[in-house]
């Protein structure tokens, strides 16, 4: 089992870090947590449909900090596809490691960016008060915490509205059997506001593994928008946990666009801890031939007048496999809660599969909740209507699939990112459903 390899990897990492301090202890605690839980297996209720064996059975090693020339070359090529003007403020991570030379200088009052993994820097812990909460449920988050030398801590000061969008670009240079463990800590003080993009981007067909954690603390009336665009190479593995805790009147808007990778698992945990906190959570996932994409989200309404709206759409082609599980828990005393959830899926072939399960647990009595899931094929009447106008079958299919995704993609508030997501969806459609017309 490769927990051993990861443990060895951990010990050699630890040897390089200063051997005292809270973080040091914390890392050890995290590694122990991962070691005792191991990789989640399909016996776990939350992992019923997603098998981590392809990852667990491999001997992954943490990618060394010194990247090779060829890695840099890949990085430049990947970056060339990103619009510099659309992303004036970006931090580039190559195989998990921050690359200052490729990143922008970001100096904005009220915004503090600290790179993790620089030993000796004070007040730049890789952990927050929430960090250990998730170890039991999410051993992979514990593993990430154990390594925790890659990533960034983003802090926004009180009453500060950051206009610049921060793009975090994680490039994987296509290394076989290597893993990166990026860690993003976001800390929003009261009445602050920021938009952040997490962009995972890779190419090629070697099987690397990205295991990310995004940990968010939001103080009173803070406002975060975060989009995650996942465009890994065709054989890449991606696992990630996004955790957010919101105090009163704070709000978070989250958008997940998953297009690439061989196996992707997104865990999202949102704690609406303060009265009036709210979340808007949406996603589009596209699993083409042989891809597996799993979105597991959980929203806990722990305070009155909290609100959640969740909409995910899946497009599954050929032998693709999609999983959606959306759990919403309304705790006792969380009165006047409004929780809506929907998951609609398009299956483009007979061999495509989706498992979707909305779960509602309500322990308060004054709540407004709705949820629903649909699975279907493209609408035959709509296809016929378009074809009768002279549009080819493949183009008509493309237009319809695209319209289905676009209903969600249009929620992306950044025009350039939205455009990229739109083109990405078109690009990842099964070839017989490709758009035959310009966008």
């Amino acid at each position: 089992m490769n927990t051993e390899i990861l443990r060895k990897e951990f010990e050699s990492r630890m040897a390089q870090l200063p051997s005292q301090g809270k973080d040091h202890e914390f890392r050890r605690k995290a590694m122990d947590a991962f070691y005792s839980a191991g990789f989640p297996s399909r016996q776990w209720e939350t992992w019923k449909y997603t098998d981590l064996k392809p990852i667990a059975s491999k001997g992954f090693q943490l990618i060394p900090k010194e990247s090779t020339d060829s890695a840099h070359e890949t990085a430049s090529k990947l970056l060339a596809t990103c619009d510099l003007e659309a992303e004036p403020s970006r931090l580039i991570f190559l195989d998990g490691h921050h690359v200052p030379a490729l990143s922008s200088e970001i100096t904005t009052t009220g915004l503090r960016l600290s790179m993790l993994g620089h030993p000796g820097l004070k007040n730049r812990s890789a952990f927050s008060k929430h960090s250990s909460k998730n170890f039991k449920e999410h051993p992979l988050a514990a593993l990430n915490a154990a390594f925790s030398t890659q990533g960034v801590r983003i802090q926004v000061a009180e009453k500060t509205n950051i206009d610049t969008v921060i793009h975090l670009v994680f490039l994987d240079s296509n290394l076989e059997n290597q893993t990166s463990q990026p860690r993003i800590l976001i800390d929003l003080k009261a009445e602050s506001k920021i938009t952040i993009v997490q962009h995972f981007l890779g190419a090629g067909s070697n099987s690397g593994w990205t295991n990310s954690v995004t940990e968010i603390s939001q103080a009173r009336s803070s406002d975060l928008t975060l989009y995650q665009l996942q465009e890994h190479g065709t054989e890449h593995f991606h696992t990630g946990l996004l955790y957010s805790s919101l105090t009163s009147d704070a709000s978070i808007k989250l958008g997940f666009i998953d297009l690439g990778g061989r196996l992707t698992r997104n865990d999202v945990q949102i704690d609406l801890d303060g009265a009036g906190a709210k979340t808007e959570l949406f996603g589009v996932f596209l699993a083409a031939d042989g891809q597996h994409i799993d979105n597991h989200t959980r929203i806990d309404h722990r305070a009155p007048e909290t609100k959640s709206i969740e909409t995910f759409r899946g497009i599954i082609g050929d032998r693709g496999r999609g999983v959606f599980n959306g759990k919403v828990v309304v705790h006792p005393d969380a009165q006047k809660v409004d929780a809506q959830q929907s998951n609609d899926n398009l299956l483009l072939s007979e061999k495509a599969e989706i498992d979707t399960k909305p779960e509602l647990e309500i322990y308060a009595d004054e709540v407004k909740c709705s949820h629903g899931a649909t699975v279907g094929d493209l609408d035959a009447e709509q296809l016929f209507y378009m074809k009768s106008r002279g549009i080819k079958e493949s183009a008509a299919r493309g237009i319809l699939i695209f319209a289905f995704a676009n209903e969600i993609l249009k929620l992306i508030g950044l025009p350039k990112l939205r455009e990229r997501a739109i083109l990405g969806v078109a690009d990842h459609l099964p070839s017989h459903d490709r758009l035959g017309v310009e966008l």
Partner: protein
């Protein structure tokens, strides 16, 4: 231009058309009338290529080619157009986008130069005015939330843009107010030419006063049971279909 011979069609194993024959030559306008459920829309949909309607016997030839072997889009490329009795709503697909995609798909199929966004707007400007469709309709989803009359006018806008050589209008006049009926009739007349033919499926003689047909046919029991000129439409308007049915059963 179009020859339909001894056409038999089943829908869900139910025979709907039972030996229908009809010939349409270039430049002609044929009206098809008949009681509800007699198979008029079935005929229209079969012509356009809907594949859940099974042709069990007979043939359809369009410009000398076997229409039944063609995909719906290929029929459109050859110049066939159906204005649907119930135009389909397509949420999320922009109305102008669909029309431009359709126009360019047809142009590409005919090896003609495709139009860009600017040329497209120029091309449809007058047609929209003629159909009295406000500009805002271009950016709405296809037929979504359109009123009944708006859907019909949108169908005619598509027809005017695509300039088919054979247009089948399936009850495009139903549900239109007096002014809209005139607008639609003007649009249809605008397209008429010695090369273009029309099939008007209708229940009302009023449309036929505005778009004067060369022939009027009565479809009943899955066949054309009577044909005549526009006077037949007037007569049907007054006397209904009972007498036709009686006449047929007497034979």
């Amino acid at each position: 231009m179009l020859q339909i011979e001894n056409l038999h069609v089943c829908v869900e194993d139910q025979p709907i058309l039972n030996g229908l024959s009809l010939e349409i030559n270039a430049g002609q306008v044929h009206a098809i009338m008949g009681p509800n459920g007699s198979g008029k829309s079935t005929l229209a949909q079969v012509l356009a290529g809907r594949d859940d309607y099974k042709v069990t016997q007979g043939s359809i030839t369009f410009y000398g080619k076997n229409l039944l072997e063609m995909q719906p889009e290929e029929r459109a490329h050859l110049g066939l157009f159906l204005a649907f009795q119930y135009p389909t709503e397509i949420p999320g697909v922009n109305n102008a986008y669909l029309l431009k995609a359709a126009l360019n798909a047809q142009r590409a199929a005919r090896n003609e130069q495709e139009v860009d966004a600017f040329e497209f707007m120029n091309l449809i400007k007058n047609k929209m005015e003629m159909m009295q469709i406000p500009k805002t309709f271009l950016n709405r989803s296809v037929n979504e939330g359109f009123s009944g009359g708006e859907k019909k006018r949108n169908e005619i806008l598509q027809m005017l843009t695509l300039e088919p050589s054979l247009a089948i209008l399936d009850e495009t006049d139903s549900g239109l107010d007096v002014d809209a009926l005139r607008i639609v009739a003007d649009g249809v007349n605008n397209l008429r030419s010695p090369e273009r033919s029309l099939i008007l499926v209708t229940h009302y003689e009023r449309l036929l006063e505005l778009v004067v047909p060369d022939f009027v046919h009565v479809l009943a029991g899955g066949r054309i049971v009577k044909s005549g000129d526009r006077d037949l439409a007037r007569y049907l308007d007054e006397h209904g279909y009972d007498w036709v049915q009686t006449e047929v059963s007497a034979q």
